[in-house]
């Protein structure tokens, strides 16, 4: 077995030092009835080439996003990741290091996290950021809990433009009840969240660009929340948008949560991704998750450590701000490297390119009879209404090799108001040919349907 270094002779030598007759003797404290005497009913060990063949066979049964025209977004986006990123994150010293609890031998990871926190704070327009969350959805739930701790109020209001999965995760974390208000889906960018804030409201949660692609007025939301003593939590699932759209921090957000996958991380069927969480300096002691801070060593040399850990479970146990232990370290590294490669100039160009592609897509969709574009504003994602239920049309296009977007009914099966809607995204990888093929196929599908 290629991963196990001992020979049988070495095992025997070690047992002799221990003073045990057999390896089984070391399991003497296990109740006899619980010890397996037969091997588990699973395949035997396998050489590398056979394992690889098995996995390749599974992999081939999937259609990769890069195999044809691709327009799915809805919280996970297909962007180009420079080769340098994947090369660097596979270096042993990044890939196979543990959490940097021993700072003297972990300065690489710690300095990277300090740089990551700074990038996230600048990008979101906030003062501080943590060292990452599992993903955007769990980060949103943690932000909501943080807002409750900060305000000592309980009521949370979720915008109808919040990603339905994010809403569902918040509902799971908080439980159903009168303190959680989930506004109905707002595919046309409408919404009455400003009228739903009261004196018991801890926070309102607004996504921009929202799930349907609309850009939301954060300034108005912040003013209304603050007037009632509530906090504004802003969710951004497409972090590239921050290269073109005003930052939530500049518009009055109190906590910003982003899904960072778009920068540095592949689609991966949904994970691992990286959650970004940023806030005001005064709220830092109620933040969940790890924080990296600057200090000096015994010689006075600058160095970095995990800090403010008296918030965390390994110190505070049942009084911790969160039960979180592991974060998304390697995905945060990929984010940070890609963001360093882009820099401010590159991020702005990337964002403009995404928007330019999306405008092209919107204009082309407008030429397809029966297709109605619901957005007056968008970054790189938009919603269209078909004259017929969307899911069968999307499936028909998939069979033709075009992955046309997300039928909203997949996430909202109980809401007839969204049955005919498709959410579509364009990125820098979307070509004119892709857009033309989509329009042609959609046209054919709708005409065939009629």
């Amino acid at each position: 077995m290629r991963y196990l270094p001992h020979s049988e002779a070495e095992r025997a030598q070690m047992l002799a030092v221990i003073g045990a007759a057999t390896a089984e003797d070391l399991f003497a404290r296990v109740p006899a009835e619980a010890l397996l005497h037969e091997p588990v009913n699973l395949p035997k060990h396998s050489p590398e080439f056979l394992v690889e063949a098995h996995m390749r066979n599974l992999s081939r049964q999937n259609v990769a996003a890069g195999d044809g025209p691709f327009f799915i977004g809805a919280g996970a986006y297909r962007h180009h990741v420079p080769a340098t990123v994947d090369h660097l994150i596979q270096r042993s010293e990044w890939l196979t290091a543990y959490t940097p609890y021993q700072p003297e031998v972990s300065q690489g990871t710690l300095q990277m996290l300090f740089e990551f926190q700074t990038q996230v704070a600048h990008l979101t327009g906030m003062e501080v950021a943590n060292a990452s969350m599992y993903d955007g959805s769990t980060g949103t739930a943690e932000a909501v809990l943080m807002a409750r701790r900060l305000t000592r109020r309980n009521r949370i209001v979720l915008s109808g433009g919040l990603h339905p999965h994010y809403r569902d995760v918040v509902r799971t974390y908080l439980g159903d009840g009168p303190d959680l208000v989930c506004l109905p889906a707002s595919p046309e960018g409408q919404g009455d969240i400003l009228n739903r804030i009261d004196a018991d409201t801890a926070a309102i949660v607004v996504q921009t660009p929202d799930f349907y692609g609309h850009l939301r007025n954060l300034r108005a939301a912040a003013d209304a929340a603050h007037a009632a003593g509530a906090l504004l939590i802003v969710v951004v699932t497409e972090v590239v948008s921050l290269g073109l759209i005003e930052s939530p921090g500049a518009l009055g957000a109190d906590i910003v949560v982003c899904e960072g996958q778009s920068i540095g991380n592949p689609l991966n069927f949904g994970g691992p991704y990286v959650g970004l969480l940023a806030t005001r300096k005064e709220f830092v002691r109620q933040m969940p998750g790890r924080l990296c801070g600057e200090t000096v060593d015994a010689d006075g040399t600058r160095g970095f450590v995990l800090t403010l850990s008296t918030r965390e479970q390994h110190i505070r146990r049942e009084k911790a701000t969160s039960n979180i232990c592991t974060n998304a370290g390697l995905c945060a590294l990929a984010f940070s490297i890609h963001m360093s490669l882009l820099g401010e100039a590159g991020l702005k160009r990337l964002a403009r390119l995404n928007h330019e592609r999306a405008v092209k897509l919107a204009r082309m969709l407008g030429t397809v009879p029966g297709v109605e574009l619901l957005n007056k504003s968008f970054f790189n994602e938009m919603t269209i209404r078909l004259p017929v239920p969307a899911a069968p049309v999307v499936e028909m296009l998939a069979q033709a090799g075009v992955l046309a977007g997300l039928p909203v009914s997949r996430l909202e099966p109980d809401d007839p108001a969204v049955e005919n809607l498709i959410v579509l995204a364009a990125t820098e990888l979307t070509t004119d040919t892709d857009i033309e093929m989509l329009a042609d196929c959609l046209n054919a599908a709708l005409q065939g349907d009629a």
């Binding site: 399991f27 397996l36 996995m55 290091a97 740089e115 490669l341 401010e344 820098e428």
Partner: protein
């Protein structure tokens, strides 16, 4: 700059951007000190856009993001990486963390386009292979644990704990047992256990350990009452011991109408040898980043699938794969969704690749070797170190306390830092809390006898030196690492969490 006898710098240049260290052990400036907002390492066309669809929300504030060209970026991250210890460069004897070898085949497979380049919301007809993979992984996990169901989606161990405990809460609510508001947690538990219980609104009742480091079934029985929802028990426990009365504990818990949540952080000791389902557990998370070799990545991402007994299976969160179909919505009892999308697919691929490589037979051998290695270390060190719970074999980790250091002026922390100077990463310190000055050593199955001997030789030499009165070597350690000891108090008192331009820093008061 002074050098030690290995030619490594012991002192360093003054703090700041100009510090460069030596060519082999760099003092790398911050990204923001070498890059600027004009440079970029990505070539992108500069397209013109009109604001017709931007609704007046264009960015007007500056971002202030430093950019690097490609060669500069490579150098920055390669130089930073050299300041890290890693499993590929040496033994990582961190108890409770299972720092085992991370096979590179796993990485190669996770990057196949059919896994890495598929979207979580693609039509299910286009991701049949991904669903088969999830089904296969589930089969392996259920077979190894003898359980009825598994929820793959938790993003890490603590997230799996949350999902498992939520399933318990949902099952009790459905059975009209929602009044149960207490969770029993042994003192030796991981901090995530009480944190998870408290997060879900339970109060935590602590169970003391016996003198032999294990949980007394009578203590559990005494703590059980009609308001107890569950016990959260780690087995093998955090003292590195198998709980000998675990079957009796499970029976008592069930008799009292409560559930048995098992923390699976130490599953590496028993995979293929003991099936937790045979012990009577109802739920247990499995850290794929510990037991099944997915890389720790400097602190994540992890993956924490949670296996469930038949009683809890109907309360698993969505989504899950059933008979090859992806189930994303269930009427009625399911507790909902704990994360967007389908969990840590990239980790599923790595873990299944590892399982197929090892096979059921190899996993059992790995567990036995992990236990053998820990007992070997214990046997070699026990005369010089102090073993808090002697007279019994340990499982996959060996626990020592600090009584062997009494009067030496050397603390567990000092001892651990001295290990760095000898080329090893420290062991887990001060955990579990039930032992004074704990040192928890987990070698894993990946270490050869030669490496274990070198580690033991170093440990014995350090112990002898501490007892000989050479405390200074320990209290000043490390001296051969990229940094000396760091001032953690200062970091916490005046938190500096982001970089600021020098001119933006507040002027010192003095």
């Amino acid at each position: 700059m002074s050098m030690n006898n290995q030619g490594r710098p012991t002192g360093t240049c003054s703090a700041g951007a100009a510090a460069t260290g030596s060519s082999l052990l760099p003092n790398e400036p911050l990204l923001f000190e070498i890059g600027d907002t004009e440079h970029s390492g990505v070539d992108l066309p500069d397209v013109e856009i009109d604001g017709a669809f931007l609704g007046g929300f264009e960015r007007r504030s500056e971002i202030d993001l430093a950019g690097l060209t490609e060669p500069e970026a490579l150098r920055h991250y390669v130089r930073l990486s050299r300041l890290n210890y890693s499993i590929d460069s040496g033994m990582y004897p961190l108890g409770s963390c299972t720092m085992k070898h991370n096979p590179r085949l796993n990485e190669k497979m996770a990057r196949l386009p059919g896994f890495a380049d598929i979207h979580p919301l693609q039509p299910v007809s286009t991701v049949k292979g991904a669903l088969r993979l999830m089904d296969e992984l589930a089969h392996w996990l259920m077979t190894l644990t003898n359980t009825a169901a598994v929820c793959l989606t938790p993003k890490a161990g603590a997230h799996g704990e949350m999902a498992g405990m939520m399933a318990i809460r949902a099952a009790q609510d459905a059975a009209g047992q929602g009044h149960r508001k207490v969770v029993l947690v042994p003192e030796s538990a991981h901090g995530t256990n009480p944190a998870t219980a408290a997060f879900l609104g339970y109060s935590v009742r602590s169970i003391p350990a016996r003198d032999d480091g294990t949980v007394d079934v009578e203590a559990v029985k005494a703590a059980l009452s009609p308001d107890v929802a569950a016990i959260m028990l780690t087995n093998p426990n955090t003292c590195g011991l198998f709980e000998p009365e675990v079957i009796e504990i499970a029976a008592a818990v069930h008799e009292a109408g409560a559930f048995f949540y098992c923390d699976g952080a130490n599953f590496n000791a028993i995979m293929g040898v003991v099936r937790p389902g045979d012990l009577g557990i109802d739920a247990m998370h499995i850290n794929l980043h510990k037991t099944f070799s997915t890389p720790h990545g400097g602190g994540g991402p992890g993956a924490g699938p949670v296996v469930l007994s038949a009683a809890l299976a109907p309360f698993a969160p969505v989504p899950f794969v059933r008979k090859g179909e992806l189930v994303e919505h269930v009427e009625g009892q399911h507790l909902g969704r704990i994360t967007a999308f389908n969990g840590q697919m990239g980790m599923y691929v790595r873990a299944l690749t590892y399982m197929l490589s090892h096979g059921g037979d190899g996993l059992a051998q790995a567990a036995k070797d992990a236990v053998l290695n820990a007992n070997y270390i214990k046997a070699r060190l026990e005369r010089a170190f102090s073993v808090p719970f002697p007279g019994q074999p340990c499982m996959h980790e060996a626990l020592f306390d600090d009584s062997f250091l009494a009067g030496s002026g050397v603390s567990t922390l000092d001892f651990a830092k001295a290990l760095i100077d000898e080329g090893f990463h420290p062991m887990t310190m001060y955990f579990p809390l039930v032992v004074h000055g704990a040192m928890l050593v987990e070698p894993t199955e990946s270490e050869s006898k030669q490496t274990l001997d070198r580690f033991c030789d170093v440990m014995l030499e350090l112990a002898a030196d501490a007892k000989a009165g050479n405390a200074g070597r320990f209290t000043s350690a490390p001296t051969r690492a990229p940094r000396r000891r760091l001032d953690e108090t200062r970091a916490a008192r005046l938190p500096v969490l982001t970089w600021s331009r020098p001119e933006e820093l507040p002027q010192a008061a003095e």
